[in-house]
């Protein structure tokens, strides 16, 4: 029954739970609030991972996972909110990675960053993550044509959601998600390797 309002932040579980429920019902204000609350925390966790690694990718398992477990520790997230929470993390992780990559690029500007062909980057780094900025741009272009396909990529690649979880978030069938996934990947791969 603490009365302090100062720590109504990340670990105030009912707050987040309520917001997730509201967001699940389509309340966009709730989404804004969620991002405000969660983004700094995710970024803080991400910075710790990124600081230890030289690449653009997050090779360690974890980011959303840690944040999620942390909230779970606070025993605040209800089970049915899980995919919504993860889908939110997917958006934020994308933002974090893009921001991180941008800051690295600015840091290198003027230096002699090695030129690597995109084709090599994309196909050679399948397991280590693709060049984030290029992917982000292509994904933005895809979303303009077909918003749902953009979301599928975001949820699956940046959020680590399964096909079923993605279907749950997008309120569609797993079959549709799989079709979207295939088509979106083909489109992105073509965009990223276009000469």
């Amino acid at each position: 029954m603490e009365s302090s309002r100062a720590d109504l932040t990340l670990l105030h579980p009912q707050n987040i739970s309520e917001l997730l429920v509201a967001w699940g019902k389509g309340d966009n204000e709730a989404l804004k609030n969620l991002v405000t609350i969660l983004y700094p925390e995710l970024r803080r966790i991400a910075r710790r991972y990124l600081a230890r690694r030289s690449g653009d990718s997050l090779e360690s398992a974890a980011l959303a996972n840690e944040a999620y477990l942390k909230l779970l520790h606070a025993r605040g997230i209800l089970c049915e909110n899980r995919v919504h929470f993860l889908s939110l993390c997917a958006q934020m992780i994308r933002r974090i990675l893009v921001d991180h990559a941008r800051s690295r690029r600015y840091a290198k500007r003027g230096g002699d960053a090695p030129k690597v062909s995109l084709d090599e980057t994309v196909l050679g780094m399948q397991t280590r993550g693709v060049e984030v900025l290029a992917l982000n741009d292509a994904l933005a272009a895809l979303s303009k044509i077909d918003a749902r396909k953009g979301r599928v990529i975001e949820l699956r690649y940046f959020g680590g959601l399964s096909v079923e979880e993605t279907a749950e978030v997008l309120k569609t069938s797993p079959e549709t998600v799989l079709r979207d996934w295939k088509m979106a990947k083909a489109w992105l791969l073509r965009e990223l390797t276009r000469t």
Partner: protein, 931 residues
């Protein structure tokens, strides 16, 4: 790019992929019919078809942890070396640098969001034959379990091809059974019991590993899935094929599991220990599973027939025929062992030189004979599944109040003669006092106390029974006391003290405050000399302190109330480590010790139903539900001797009422009951000559139709509970309602007789209630599609929904002339604006009217000239009328009633409003336990 073109590209891409790669070019060329741009687009997508599969396939979040080397640090643990690797992950020997002890650390291969919950349940297990789980932790995003380090060998390495000596095998099996029994009592099922999960120490002590973890590790969608199933083993064939041998038939069939699956697995382990090979074997996993499901286990002819009987009962195909409780199996094993060692088994006969081999039919006959003689001391014994007796058996129940209002939070004086409670009999919640047997009640607070909430206990008796203590729901205020006969309450103890409890001898006081972590204090009887015995991390709450009769322990409810994740714990009253006693993780409240080891309390069941009354055996940590039926128990308390209980029992009711629409503002006294032939009735909707409403036969609410004085159920609530009002077409011939199907809310229609059910707009997630267009060609409802939330118009004869408005929109109503749709827009806080539009989606301006966000609160008058709406909260819910010509509003009612009003409709003649009122309808019950 236009969407039609994009759709074509997508279609041709997928269709091309279905063809062999050499035919794709020709297909695309033909399909594109000379549209070169289109053809090029599709071809460019197909160009890298071989590389697409692996592209982006690994999420940025997925990687496997690399093995740890000796010396590596994992939080406070230093890795000493690898102990082994199993299906779930690698196990390391490690040293806990803080406590200087050796531990085993299991690092899981996969992330599991259920780990925390499941492992927490397992960590509550404290048994000599269960490996203790010390910690569940996460280091750099890697989940790991810290366990007791047990030197020894796993059982699979000890069993030779000839098996183990019988005495040794039975000793191990009895230890395993005892561990299972304790775990099952705590609602933890192992699900993956096998020799590799059993460690035997050099002293012969058995320790079981990985309790409850099988459930965590399996990757199945959804929150509550069963495990490990045939499917999960099949998909992982090659890695865990061996596990199949120990599965129960229900596991092999991928059916739901309960604790009895472990009993079967133990039977298999016991068989293997004695015989040296597994009872069910096949050349492949499929064959093995087939044998488990179909074949009888081969008899163990080398051993006394009584042993076969035990095995047969453990290995029964149908769980109903098995030992129902592992402790019965343990008991039979020990009895058998004693009989065998003393050569006094029945089969050994009087000569004590029993033949080593017997024919099975003779065994069966002998066993039958034993049963017939009533002398069977292990076979055919009926084994009760619940080992905790119901303390309420033979108790006497007496109804103490029969007010129409709600009663909560009843307390009883130490001598059992007075009852204090909260009631809204006189309006706001007040504290009432009643004397047992007297039948009259004194309102002690007379409306002077605001906000007597009920999240915590807020009223009780002092230790000597001379005073009443109370607390309002403001966290900043403190407990106050007042004389039994009433009077000005005065501050009694502590800053922000919340819930006080005196020890049974009246000498000591316990309470918690509202500071972060709800610190618990123990003080003298008067509140003097308080010292803090416990405080939690902020965000975790400790409520409802209650003393054990001997004063040694304080029971309390610990957890996160907002998430309804609480459990019963206890802590020594002198301070120390708290100990968890239950594993509900739901709403838990009002722990009430009635003797040294039995604690009654209220808790919601795992399915969210209740709260019900439960009993805990604090020593064995066994719980059972002790209230039955549909009455909810909202609080419980006991007299000092624990023999007289007082409980608040709720039996929710819902009825229909009516009020006339007139020029005069109607008052509460004008409200008339609107009677229907069912006991329960809510969410009324008129359609021509019929009234439709929700009612239930005890399960979920179904849809009923009242016509010509007869009520008929047209949708059975057992097939899916209705949570929203139905939509009834103007002609009353067809209805639409919202149902949960596969976890989604879907709109369904049927005839007024309950036939010809059809699901509408299969892909639209709907919310709130629907409405028909007057011509019955359309349904309108709020929902969410791929583009997000909106208001939709669904063609009744098929076809995709038409989006009318963007953003959250609920409970639309169509005007009788079909020219107007009114609805509730996105809520801001508790209120949602009233909005309106033409059926083509163009908005219509209305005065600024705020509707309560819950419930369906707008209906047109049948003449279409006015819109009746409901406004306000709780006691001040009233009906208003919006004149659609003048755009003026006026109140229709001035009501005063504490019931919840959900929705209403206007009668077809336009003269009355029929509405529902929902009440908790609680009463206080005295329960006298037999002495």
């Amino acid at each position: 790019m236009d969407s039609e073109r994009w759709r074509k590209i997508e279609e041709f891409y997928h269709r091309a992929l279905e063809r062999p790669s050499e035919e794709r070019g020709a297909f695309v060329q033909q399909a594109c019919r000379g549209d070169i741009d289109l053809q090029r687009e599709v071809e460019s997508l197909l160009e890298r078809a071989d590389k697409v599969d692996s592209f982006l396939e690994t999420s940025v979040l997925n990687t496997t942890p690399t093995p740890l080397k000796p010396g590596a640090a994992l939080g406070p643990y230093e890795v000493l070396g690898l102990l082994g690797a199993g299906g779930m992950g690698k196990v390391y020997k490690a040293r806990d640098s803080r406590l200087g002890r050796t531990v085993a650390i299991k690092i899981l291969n996969e992330r599991s969001t259920r780990l925390e919950r499941e492992a927490r349940a397992a960590s509550a297990l404290n048994h000599p034959n269960i490996v203790t789980l010390h910690d569940i932790a996460n280091h750099d995003g890697v989940d790991y379990l810290v366990m007791e380090y047990v030197p020894g060998k796993s059982l699979d390495k000890l069993i030779t091809r000839k098996g183990l000596p019988l005495a040794q095998a039975i000793g191990y099996a009895a230890q395993i059974a005892s561990a299972l029994s304790a775990a099952h009592a705590a609602n933890v099922t192992h699900r993956d019991l096998k020799p590799a999960n059993v460690i035997v120490t050099p002293q012969g002590q058995v320790k079981i590993l990985d309790f409850g973890l099988a459930k965590v590790i399996e990757r199945t969608p959804g929150c509550e899935s069963e495990t490990p199933t045939q499917e999960s083993v099949l998909t992982q064939a090659g890695t865990v094929v061996g596990t199949g041998s120990y599965m129960s038939p229900e596991q092999a069939l991928a059916r739901p599991l309960d604790h009895r699956t472990d009993i079967f697995s133990l039977g298999v382990v016991l068989y293997e220990m004695v015989v040296g090979r597994r009872p069910f074997r096949g050349k492949s996993l499929i064959e093995t599973l087939h044998a488990i499901i179909n074949d009888p286990s081969p008899p163990v002819i080398e051993q006394p027939p009584e042993f076969d009987e035990i095995l047969a009962k453990a290995l029964a195909k149908d769980a109903k025929d098995r030992y129902q409780d592992a402790s019965d199996l343990a008991l039979d094993l020990r009895r058998f062992q004693r009989g065998w060692e003393t050569k006094s088994l029945p089969s050994m006969g009087a000569t004590a030189t029993a033949p080593k081999r017997r024919i099975r039919s003779a065994v069966g006959a002998a066993a039958l004979l034993v049963i017939a003689l009533g002398a069977g001391w292990w076979v055919g014994r009926s084994s009760p599944t619940v080992s905790l007796e119901n303390p309420l058996d033979n108790a006497q129940f007496t109804r103490f109040t029969d007010f129409p209002g709600s009663e909560w939070d009843a307390a009883i004086s130490p001598d059992g003669k007075f009852v204090a409670f909260l009631s809204d009999r006189d309006g706001p919640f007040d504290i009432f006092l009643g004397r047992v047997g007297a039948g009259s009640f004194l309102n002690l607070t007379q409306g002077k106390e605001q906000d007597l909430g009920w999240a915590l206990r807020v009223v009780g008796f002092s230790g000597d029974g001379s005073e009443i203590w109370l607390h309002d729901s403001d966290p900043a205020s403190s407990v106050r006391t007042m004389p039994l006969i009433g009077g000005e309450p005065r501050v009694f103890v502590g800053k922000q003290s919340q819930n006080v409890a005196w020890s049974r001898d009246g000498t000591r006081l316990a309470y918690h405050t509202s500071d972060p972590g709800d610190p618990i204090f123990v003080a003298d009887r008067t509140g003097a000399n308080p010292h803090q015995i416990f405080v939690d991390q902020a965000g975790v709450h400790n409520h409802f302190p209650a003393w054990s009769p001997d004063g040694a322990w304080l029971y309390f409810v610990r957890g996160v109330p907002a998430a309804n994740q609480m459990d019963l714990w206890r802590i020594p009253s002198a301070g120390g480590a708290p100990e968890r006693l239950t594993s509900h993780s739901s709403y838990v409240g009002y722990p009430t010790p009635i003797d040294q080891r039995t604690v009654l309390y209220v808790a919601q069941a795992a399915d969210g139903s209740g709260p019900w009354l439960w009993a805990l055996d604090a020593e064995r940590k066994i719980t059972r539900r002790v209230s039955f039926g549909l009455e909810k128990y909202t609080s419980v308390a006991a007299s000092a001797d624990g023999h007289r209980l007082v409980a608040t029992v709720a039996n929710p009711v819902a009825n229909l009422w009516s009020i006339s629409i007139g020029d005069r503002v109607a008052e509460e006294r004008d409200v008339q009951p609107f009677s229907v032939p069912t006991v329960r009735a809510l969410m009324p909707r008129f359609g021509a000559a019929a009234l439709f409403y929700l009612s239930s036969r005890g399960m979920g609410d179904g849809l009923w139709r009242l016509q010509d004085g007869k009520a008929q159920e047209v949708w059975n609530g057992a097939d899916g509970a209705l949570l929203e009002p139905p939509a009834v077409a103007l002609d009353g011939r067809r209805v639409a309602f919202v149902l949960r199907r596969n976890g989604r809310l879907r709109l369904q229609t049927e005839t007024a007789d309950g036939t010809d059910a059809k699901v509408m707009a299969e892909n639209l997630d709907v919310h709130g209630a629907a409405c028909w267009s007057p011509d019955r060609k359309w349904l309108t409802i709020g929902g969410t599609d791929a583009q997000g939330p909106g208001l939709f118009r669904i063609p009744v004869d098929g076809g995709p929904p038409v989006r009318l408005a963007n953003g959250l929109a609920s409970n639309p109503v169509w005007s009788p002339d079909g020219r107007l749709i009114a609805y509730a827009g996105a809520n801001v806080g508790e209120y949602a604006p009233l909005l309106a539009m033409h059926p083509d989606g163009t908005a219509i301006e209305l005065p600024d009217i705020k509707l309560n966000r819950d419930g369906e609160r707008i209906r047109f008058l049948p003449n279409g000239k006015g819109l009746a709406f409901m406004q306000g909260q709780r006691r001040s819910q009233d009906f208003w009328l919006l004149d659609l010509v003048t755009k003026q509003t006026r109140p229709l009612t001035h009501l005063n009633n504490p019931s919840t009003m959900r929705t209403f409709d206007v009668t077809p003649d336009g003269k009355q409003i029929v509405f529902d009122r929902l009440r908790e309808n609680s009463d206080i019950v005295l329960i006298d336990l037999p002495r």
